[in-house]
């Protein structure tokens, strides 16, 4: 279920990117796309009934399986990269606002 939700969110982010003409909305859409992507990545490593990939004192006794730790590690990287691009996008948005006085792309006129 969560995997389908992740794909649906990816698609919603894409839909936002296609339809929105407001700079802040575009960055919001990109964030939604990234959250969906991150959820999808983690879902790829999920094992039904698995436990979080951290060794604890009773690991060897109960025979449970770990979920795949590699997607989690990749998502950590992806989240931080996402913050970097979002911060940059917002800084650019601020610059654009200073230049044109609006966030709406259609109101900015010819570049």
């Amino acid at each position: 279920m969560l995997q389908y939700a992740a794909i649906a969110m990816l698609m919603l982010g894409l839909y936002g990117l296609l339809t929105q003409r407001n700079i802040i909305k575009i960055i919001v859409s990109i964030n939604i796309l990234e959250i969906g992507l991150n959820l999808f990545i983690v879902s790829v490593g999920y094992v039904e009934g698995g436990i979080a990939p951290i060794l604890t004192s009773d690991f060897n006794n109960n025979g449970l399986v770990f979920v795949d730790p590699l997607p989690s590690a990749l998502v950590l990287t992806a989240i931080v990269i996402g913050v970097g691009t979002t911060a940059l996008g917002l800084a650019l948005a601020k610059n654009i606002y200073q230049k044109y006085g609006t966030f709406e792309i259609d109101e900015m006129g010819e570049e």
């Binding site: 969560l2 802040i24 959250i35």
Partner: protein, 83 residues
């Protein structure tokens, strides 16, 4: 169908609704708030999928800092607009 599955379904549906609202809401501040809430629900999703590291990171960075950056941008824009 046990409890976990039900929680999963609720979280998924709520996330989709929030994502749709975040994209389609008229007010920018509301849109950002929906994004923040969505991010918080994604944290639940990460916990359900047994990725606590990602959950902690997403909670602090995704729904905390990114939201504040959005709000600061909107704040400064309003300031310039009022002048």
């Amino acid at each position: 169908m046990d409890l976990i599955n039900i929680v999963e379904i609720i979280v998924s549906v709520l996330m989709l609704i929030l994502a749709f609202l975040a994209i389609n809401s008229k007010s920018l501040v509301k849109s950002v708030m929906f994004l923040s809430a969505l991010s918080m629900l994604a944290v639940v999703g990460f916990v359900l999928m047994k990725a606590p590291d990602v959950a902690v990171t997403e909670a602090v960075i995704g729904s905390g800092l990114v939201t504040s950056l959005f709000i600061f941008t909107l704040l400064s824009a309003r300031k310039v607009g009022n002048k």
